[in-house]
Structures are given as C-alpha cells and as structure tokens.
Amino acid sequence: MKDMINQRDGGTNQWLRPRRWIELVLLSWAIGIFYYYYSLLGYIDLLRDLLSR
C-alpha cells in the first residue's frame, strides 16, 4: 500500500516531507489573512450590498 502511495506521489510520499507541511501552513495563513482582511474592512458587505440591489 505504502509503495502504491509513493508511486502515485512521484516516488516519495510527499506527506512525509516537512516542505509539504510548511506549504500547508503558509497556504492556511494566506487564506485566513485574506478572509480576515476582506471581512474586517467591509469588502464582503460591499459585495453583498451590490448583489442585493
């Protein structure tokens, strides 16, 4: 089974590499901070207002 996963991921299990976890952390940071910013500064409300007209 492990061999099959490794084969599918290009020969090594990507999830065993720290880089994959760092990427996930950085991606989560980006998504979280985007949501925080756009909701805090009222962009989402602005879009809602525009769509509800």
């Binding site: 290009g10 990427e23 998504i31 910013y37 756009y38 989402i44």
Partner: protein
Amino acid sequence: MIDLISILLLMLSAIGTGREILRRGQFAFTNPFERATFAAGIGYGSLALTMLVLGIAGFLLPTVVAAVSVAWMVAGCYLVGVRGLVSRFRESRFTRDPWRLLVVGFIALGLVLTALKAAAPPHGATDPLAYQLALPKIFLQKGFLSFEGTITGALYPDTMNLLYAVGLALREGSLAQLIHWSTLFLCVVGVIGFGERYFNRDVGLCAGAIFLSMPLVTVFGTQGYIDVGLCFFQFLAFWALANWTQTRRTRELVLTGLLAGLAISTKHQGLATLVVAVPVIVSVGLRTSGRLISGLRLGALFLAIALALALPWYLRAWFMAGNPIWPLANGLFGGLPFGNSPVILSGQMGPDSGLLGGWIPSAKWWTSYLGAMSPWSWAFLKGGLQKATGIHFIALLPATVLGWRHPRLRRLMVFCLCYYVIIIRALHMNPRYGLVLFVFASAAAGWAAAYFSRHEWRPAALVFRAVFVSTLVLNVTWQYSLFEPVRDVVFGRETPSQFLRAREHNYGVFEFANQHLPAKSKVLLQGMVRGFYLNAPYMWDHPHQAILRYDDYTTPEDFLARLRKLGITHIARVIRVSDTRHAMGFPQYFLDPFHESFRQKYLKLLYRDQMCVLFEIHHGNGN
C-alpha cells in the same frame, strides 16, 4: 469618452515613438509586454523633454503644446504599427489557459473601472488641484516654467506635470488625470512582462493582478498625483538595471541612466533610484573586470546620464530661488526664505539618538515609529489613505521562503528589503513615496500565488485559486464602488459644472470669478490652496510661504499697500477655516480683528455661497 480615446492614442503614440528610439538603439527585449512598457516609458520621456524645451524657450503655450502633441501623436501612431502589435500579442498565446484567462479578465476589468474613475473631472484631493495640475495650467497661461513663490512645490521637478500640460492643452483636467492612470496601466503591463522575463507568465499575471489590487494604487492612480508616474519610471530604471546585470552591455546601462533621470526629474523621491543603482553598478563592474576603477567608471557614466536629465530642474530652482531643491534644505543652500523647513529624512530624533550620529536609530526610535513603519498597519488602511497597501503582500510574501533556492527570487526579496529600509529612513515611512517597492513586491507575491495556483497537490491548487479569485472579485467590487459616484458625469448625464459645484468647495466662487472678473485681475486665496479651477492669476496665503505674512502688518493701510504692490485686486476666502488648517497657521478670518477691520474698510463683497466668498479690494474706501 473623448478623453478615454485620447489617452489610448497617447499611449499608442508613446509606444510608437519609444519603440522607434529603442529600435535605433538596438535594444533587445524578451516579450511584447516588456517591449511595449519600455517603449512607452521612453516615448513619454521624449514627450516630456519636448515640453521642457518649449517651457525653457518660452513657447509652452496651449496652441503650441497642442500642435506639437498632435504631431507627436500622428508620428507615434504611424510608427506603432497596431497590426504588428496585435499579432505579437496573439503569438504570445497568453489567454489559452482558463486560469490565465480568468486573471487577465479581472485585470482588464480593474483597469477599465479605474480608467472610468480617472475620466471624471479632477476633484476631492488637495495636491493635484494645488500643485500637480494647477502648476502646468499656470505654465500654459504664462508660456514658460514660471516660479510661483507662494506655492510650496513650485520648483520641484515637473516631468509628469509637463505631461499633464499636454493633457490640459489638448483637453481638460480629466485627460491629465488619465495620463497618470496610463502610468498605472503601464506598471501593470510592465510587471506582467517582468514576471514573464524573470520567472514565468503565471507569475507576471498574478503580480499584475496583485499590484492593481493595492488600494493605494487604485485611489492615487486615478487622480492627478505624480506618484504612480514616479513609480513607473523607477520601475523601468530598476528593470533595465536588472537586464544590464545579465547582458552587461553599455547600451542597457545608458537606458538605465535615462530612465533613472526621468524618475529623478519626476520627483525628488526618485533620487532613491541612485542610492540602489550606483552600488549595484559599481559592484557588478568590479566583479566583471576585477578592477574597482572599471566599476567606478560605469557608476560615473550612469550617474552622469541620470543627473544630466534632472539638471535643468535643479538649475531652474537654483536660478529662481538660490537653492537647487528649494524649499528643501534651505538652511544649507541659503535660498529664498520659506516659512517652514520641510523635513527631508523621516523619523529623525537628533544626533544623540542611536549610533553613528543618528543613522542607526535607538530602541526608542523603533518603538516610537513601529506603527508608522509596519507593513501590517499599512495593509489595514483602506481608501484614500496613502499607506493602504492591501493584503496580498502580508498574505503571500511569507510563502516566498519556499522559493529561497531560486536565485532571482532571492535577489528580488533582497531588493525589496533594501528599498523598504529606504522608505523607512528616507521617504517618510510613506508607501506612496516608494511605490516602486510594491511593483517588485507584487512580482514576489505573484511568484507565491503562481506557486500555490499550480501546486502539485490538486486540492490545494484549487482552493488557492478560488480564494485568490475571490480577492480579485472583492477588489473589483470596491473599484466599482469608487467609480459609482462619478458614473453620471463620466457618461455625460451630469455636466462637469454641476458635478464640481457639488463636490469642490471653491468651485462656485471660482466659476463666478472666471465669468465676472475683469482682465488683469489677480486673486489672493485665503484659507485655500486648490487653485486649479481659477483662471485668473492667483497667490496663496499659506503660512509656509514668505511673500505675504500677515504678522508683518500692524494697520489695514500697511496691508493694503502690500496687496497693491503684489498686484492683488480680489480676495477669494473660505468662510470657515477648518480646525486643521487653523492649527497650521491660517487665520480664522471672520473672527480675526485685523482681518475684520481690513474687510470693513477695504473689501466689497462680490459673491457668496455656503463655503466661500469673493471680495473686490476697494482701494479708496479707507480715506
């Protein structure tokens, strides 16, 4: 709409003339975006230099400027070869991929919305109506680069302002505003080309979308400021420098010098270009030949070209006010007196603070200015504020650590760090003065966006794409909300006069003055500096100027004599001076005993609305 067509023709002409100049110089570019951006920069530079020559020769008159500009546009449009340009973009096939198509679509939508906003009559912001648009209008009235001693920035370098003179001579203030917007357009196109040259097309497209999403750029790029124009010339200068470090051909260094010269002659903050470029040139020259003298020679060549372009501006200030950078460093040069000494370096706390005479700041300095210099606090300012950089940098730049082994990305990040230090220490911690940092930071953030959007783990790529596109949707929504208030005037459902009367506090009084004041009238503006819409000659009574200081006169008769000597015939006054301006030193005229006494004796009311009044100076009444 005529303005929008005019700006497209102006940009095409700039590309045409610039491309011909670059072709003669045998410059090589790697993609059509890069070629078009450099051509436009050189084309705009050639037009501004032509206007400079007209200004020095005393022929900067509306008819002459319009005739020269039209001739330049005809030649430029002929040279650009639109068919060739379109086929090259088609060959580049950048829209075949749906993801790229989506990003391109949002970039195009953002550019259209910002262009429509810029097509409204100039209003709202102080600086364009006080300096950047007001000065070229005065130059056109007088026919030369005159010195307006009461206007604070009267002797700053004016390359962008000369391009605005073209807009004012051909049409009105809205075309001048669109010229500024066109530099924003070219920065976006340029960063796509830069990304494509040094990374790949995805990086360029994401970078273009990120740069256009900056609230600071959206707000200021659509008004008659000059900061995005400065950013454009600086961006090209640094890009040419990067190209030179690869090719090491002298002609690329000459191009770098020319573009740096245009940046310096746009605004003093452009001098930061030299601070970065000279050490890079010297060190690359040293590394190439192994001899310091070769590096120094190359640095001197670059400096000579850049400063030669800026020299006319420094000489003008020196001849007119005795200080090449008047009114900055007036104590050093001993120039014409100026009421206030503007600060050059930001956040100085004196030589006792920190190390090396204050150059390395103390801990107290850092804690005092942490809020002002923090990219986090810059990101969370929105709308109208000159530090509002948007969130993409905070969200995406940390991810550039994933590309740290990529030498180009590493160099880009080092450049961004160096320029950030320059903004902190020398550019008043103000991102508006150092916008070029954010072009390159957009390229770095674009690298991170492209990395995630093409991530090998498909779910991560899809989630990121959805989130990134959502940010573009929200930014476009905000850009639309900025355009909405000017929609009627842009589409002709409201006249510019109606629009401006409702939005510009002094438009009513100036409209009256333009219609009723006799020829040879000269107006003193009291409590206001936005003089753009006044056609008669005028002067400010700003507390910083030294030509008319109220404290010097003890009686209304003394004051009257001074006004007569200055040729002042009328006074346009704000009825109630705002608390901020009053704190700055403007009198509260109608509550001030001296001004009230003068008004009762010598002023005759001609016009009054809710905000302003217009008086005629009645020279005989006091007797």
